[in-house]
């Protein structure tokens, strides 16, 4: 297991800060820590009471931190996201709950995406105590990040249970992956259809819009008891705001997400109906699949997170053009995520409704396009 190196040597310089009149108002500490492979330099303004404690505290906070809690699913993912710390993108520290780790695939995909942007030696993974620690090993986290877990398990055939963490970097690999993935799930054809649809559309979004050096990172878990599949697809690309802003005005990360979820809007053009290659429908389709199934859908980019909430099972579903009219929660106060995170839950009992969903999408999509054309319609000006 790779540990963050303790400083093998360090030096401290104190500089007295004075105002224009020469009066002393504080002390700046310049701290240089040598870890063998890099030099850390920090500055602490103010008068030090205990320099050692201050410096230790500074050094310990200098990293990306991600904590795997005992439960982090789409319904209760907010505390997990808020605990994420990206103060230094050069080191990743992974910690976990001591007793139990039960997490949505999107959480695993996020950890993997963070780790893939680093060299293995810059990833520090806490020695896990939780009984469910083997799950991380089985899902392929340590193998993908090329770090040693110290966990010994007897490998089980994954068929019928999960899609392990997978990094996909180009179109041809995606087609192969989807072909190989279907038998892994051991599901009925009508159950497979929305799953491969979601994976294809979301992963192609990464290729076309994200400019992610590490491509798309995804995994999925099938839950037999609830007959549901949970999917997470993550990238460390430019993020939705930058993508949408190529052709539309987005004043915030949340506004960009709102536009990206609106049918017919793509970052590639202002033209209604999209380009020959992008219609601006992909994310709307995915959200609609979750909505028709009355499941969660989460999208997180920059500091904003939009969560489609579960509808009452008895309620008749109506698709909305504006994602803010759906039952949802949103916030723009999360730690900054460079790139895009998407998590989807899908109950497979309901997948016979895929056909119904397509009918509903046909109606709402055309309505959306007509409305946008009407908004832009201009009358001739006679003077």
């Amino acid at each position: 297991m790779t540990q963050l190196d303790a400083p093998v040597a360090h030096s401290t310089q104190l500089k007295t800060l004075k105002d224009k009149t020469g009066e002393k108002f504080g002390t700046e500490i310049s701290y240089h820590a040598f870890t063998g492979n890099r030099t850390w330099i920090g500055y602490l303004p103010g008068i030090p009471v205990n320099v050692e404690i201050l410096l230790k505290s500074w050094y310990n906070h200098l990293s990306m931190k991600i904590h795997l809690s005992n439960s982090a699913y789409l319904g209760n993912i907010d505390p997990f996201l808020r605990s994420f710390n990206a103060s230094d993108p050069d080191i990743l520290k992974i910690t976990a709950n001591d007793k139990w780790i039960s997490i949505h695939p999107v959480v695993l995909s996020m950890v993997a995406a963070l780790g893939l942007s680093l060299k293995p030696k810059n990833i520090e993974c806490q020695h896990l105590e939780a009984r469910s620690k083997h799950y991380l090993k089985r899902m392929g986290l340590y193998d993908l990040l090329k770090i040693d877990s110290g966990i010994q398990i007897t490998e089980h055939e994954p068929a019928g249970r999960f899609i392990p963490l997978t990094q996909i970097t180009d179109s041809s690999k995606l087609t192969d992956f989807i072909t190989e993935m279907v038998p892994l799930l051991h599901l009925e054809p009508n159950q497979v259809e929305p799953i491969r649809y979601i994976i294809s559309e979301l992963t192609r979004n990464v290729f076309e819009h994200a400019y992610s050096k590490t491509g798309a990172i995804l995994c999925a878990q099938y839950y037999k008891k609830s007959n549901a599949i949970k999917i997470g697809i993550v990238d460390r690309g430019v993020g939705i705001r930058e993508t949408i802003s190529e052709s539309h005005r987005a004043s915030s990360d949340m506004e960009a997400i709102r536009l990206a979820l609106t049918p017919g809007i793509t970052g590639k053009t202002q033209r209604i109906g999209g380009t020959d290659y992008n219609a601006g429908a992909g994310l709307f389709f995915i959200k609609s699949i979750a909505k028709v199934n009355k499941d969660f859908f989460v999208i997180y980019s920059g500091k904003a997170m939009y969560k489609l909430l579960k509808e009452n099972p008895q309620k008749k579903i109506r698709l909305e053009i504006d994602p803010f009219k759906d039952k949802h929660s949103n916030s723009e106060s999360f730690p900054y995520w460079q790139g895009t995170v998407v998590g989807v839950d899908l109950k497979l009992d309901n997948t016979t409704e895929f056909s119904t969903l397509l009918e509903a999408i046909r109606e709402i999509y055309s309505k959306s396009v007509k409305e946008r054309r009407a908004e832009r319609y201009k009358k001739a000006k006679f003077i």
Partner: protein
């Protein structure tokens, strides 16, 4: 009339937009340009994404107008593929 069997080009899950664009540019557009009929045969194709179908036909509809649909026929489509095609055809004419 030309019949294009899509399964051998895109497999059972029609989702590769790069292939869709190539098929449109090399096979579909030249036929429409010359006012010749083309049949897109989905036999053996289990499913198609909206993105795939959009890339396959939207530019033809934009360039040659709805009249291009008089020259294109969709054959052996299952219920969901028909619906995806109808989504694209409808919003391109909305």
């Amino acid at each position: 009339m030309k019949v294009l069997r899509l399964k051998r080009l895109v497999g059972v899950f029609a989702e590769d937009k790069d292939k869709a664009r190539e098929i449109r540019i090399k096979k579909i557009t030249p036929m429409i340009e010359n006012k010749k009929e083309i049949v897109l045969d989905f036999s053996g194709v289990e499913a198609a994404t909206q993105s795939f179908v959009h890339t396959l036909i939207s530019e033809v509809l934009r360039e040659y107008g709805p009249g291009a649909l008089d020259l294109i026929s969709f054959k052996n489509c299952d219920q969901n593929i028909k619906k995806v095609i109808n989504i694209v055809v409808e919003y391109m004419q909305a």
